[in-house]
């Protein structure tokens, strides 16, 4: 009886594998076929620009501070229109672990992990990307966000309270009961 049952099981197993012939491959031929990456894929970090084309980074050092492998290094500077910007920005990709903490820490949505993941060099030194290599022309994942139009800071062309979704500052003294 058990011999009969094992023969049935054997046949079922063989049939299960034979059925797979029509299904096609569930793997892909990688370099020719593109991978379908999930929307939240964490690839190589890049510095994005705001919709007006100015760089978003304000050189607050938060990404550098939160980075668990200490692979981000930058120097802050200030432009003539009072906007802060990174004079230099370096990421060492032979240490980066693509954890995405820098993206989470960034208050201006400047540093973003985009979907590039396959890049290689022959030497470790070539993995240190400078600002020119990191700064991209687009806005990344957040096409409409502009930090300076939201934040309550004064700038040369706008005063406090003039940003979008922002009310004028309240005069504390006139508000007393």
């Amino acid at each position: 009886m058990s011999a009969y049952r094992s023969f049935v099981q054997l046949g079922l197993g063989l049939w299960t594998t034979l059925r797979q012939i029509g299904r096609g491959a569930s793997t892909i031929s990688y370099p020719e076929e593109a991978l379908k990456l999930p929307p939240r894929w964490r690839g190589r970090p890049a510095l994005t620009r705001d919709p007006d084309g100015d760089e978003r980074c304000v050189a607050c050092q938060l990404c550098s501070a939160v980075c668990p492998t200490r692979c981000i290094e930058l120097q802050a500077g200030e432009r003539e229109d009072e906007r802060r910007y990174p004079v230099s920005f370096r990421i060492n990709f032979s240490r980066c672990i693509y954890c995405g903490f820098c993206e989470e820490a960034c208050p201006t949505l400047a540093i973003q992990l985009l979907d590039e993941f396959a890049f290689s060099t022959e030497h470790h030194q070539d993995f240190i990307y400078e600002k020119e290599a990191l700064l991209i022309d687009g806005t990344g994942k957040h096409p409409h966000y502009n930090f300076y139009r939201h934040a309550g800071v004064a700038l040369h062309d706008k005063d406090k309270g003039q940003g979008s979704n922002e009310s004028p500052p309240v005069n504390g003294r006139s508000n007393l009961p």
Binding site: L10, L14, T17, L18, Q20, I21, A25, S26, T27
Partner: protein, 318 residues
């Protein structure tokens, strides 16, 4: 002149057989890919058919290395023995009516059994001479397995010999007025199982068993010596398939097409069956393998032989 032509023909046969073995390595990987929802090798040439060539080139360009702890004479001899015994067996296999080197030889089947025993020696010596524990364990397994599966194999073949009254493969194929799988279904199954165990292929690849024994008997081998083992294995697979076709599936008999095409179709169908088995079944434990051989297949094949013999005797009397 005839001698020269004969030598040339034998060389050609050998080269073609080695080519088939190389092609089968590639074909197996493609078929396994098909059965396991993946691509398999598809880089070199159309459908990746150049993979066999690339593998061969890689193996040939490797260093011919002999480990310091190995018995160097036996270590060198073993792979040659494996490949030779598998190749020599093909001499008695007929591809069509009168199309073989020694298809009419009176002891063809016996010769094949002898060569498959020699094959076991090659595997055992390879494992023994390597001087490594894994290889030795693989070799011990190989001998135990091959000894215990040669008995059912021989007994199943004996029933065929009883039916056809001949030990030459030509005679056996000619005697098949109906494919012997109809008259010998049990013998066919026994032959197939024992054949898979003889060629030590999955699911009976315990001598190699890469998940337990690294690579079993050929752990210490590399380069073309490993290539000989590999070719020997695939030649053995082809041999068992071609024997199955000749002994049980009617050989070159078949309607419409020429005989040798029928022979090839049947052979490759059986080979596909082996690939299919490999894709489907897990490897049994060692004691389960021995139990199946000694306690199930051996009594079954004896019973099969007894039934065939008594039926044949009754037929002759009545």
């Amino acid at each position: 002149m005839t001698l020269f032509l004969m030598a040339l023909g034998m060389l050609l046969t050998t080269v073609v057989l080695l080519g088939i073995a190389g092609f089968l390595v590639f074909a197996e990987r493609r078929v396994l890919g098909l059965l396991q929802n993946r691509h398999g090798p598809n880089r070199l040439g159309p459908f990746g058919i150049g993979q066999a060539l690339a593998d061969a080139l890689k193996l040939m360009s490797k260093e011919n290395f002999v480990p310091a702890f190995a018995d160097s004479v036996l270590y060198r001899a073993a792979p040659v023995l494996v490949a030779f015994s598998a190749l020599a067996s093909f001499a008695v296999v007929p591809l069509d009516r009168g199309f073989s080197w020694a298809g009419n030889w009176d002891i063809g089947l016996l010769f094949i059994l002898a060569m498959s025993s020699l094959n076991a020696y090659g595997v055992f010596l390879g494992g023994w001479a390597s001087g490594s524990k894994f290889a030795l364990l693989g070799a011990v397994r190989a001998v135990a397995q091959l000894v215990s599966y040669e008995l059912p194999l021989g007994l199943a073949l004996l029933a065929v010999v009883l039916l056809s009254g001949s030990l030459s493969l030509n005679g056996i194929v000619q005697a098949q007025w109906v494919p012997y799988i109809v008259l010998q279904p049990v013998g066919f199954v026994i032959f197939l199982i024992a054949g898979v165990a003889e060629t030590h292929r999955l699911p009976f690849d315990l001598p190699e068993a890469e998940s337990e024994l690294v690579a079993g008997f050929n752990t210490e081998y590399g380069g073309m010596r490993f290539g000989y083992f590999f070719l020997g294995e695939y030649l053995g697979l082809t041999l068992i398939a071609v024997l199955t076709a000749a002994l049980y599936l009617g050989g070159w008999h078949g309607p419409w097409l020429p005989g040798w095409i029928w022979m090839l179709i049947k052979t490759f169908a059986v080979i596909f069956g082996f690939f299919w088995l490999r894709a489907s079944l897990p490897r049994p434990r060692y004691d389960q393998l021995m139990l199946l051989g000694w306690k199930v297949l051996l009594p079954l094949s004896l019973f099969n032989l007894l039934c065939t013999a008594s039926t044949a005797a009754l037929w002759r009397l009545g």
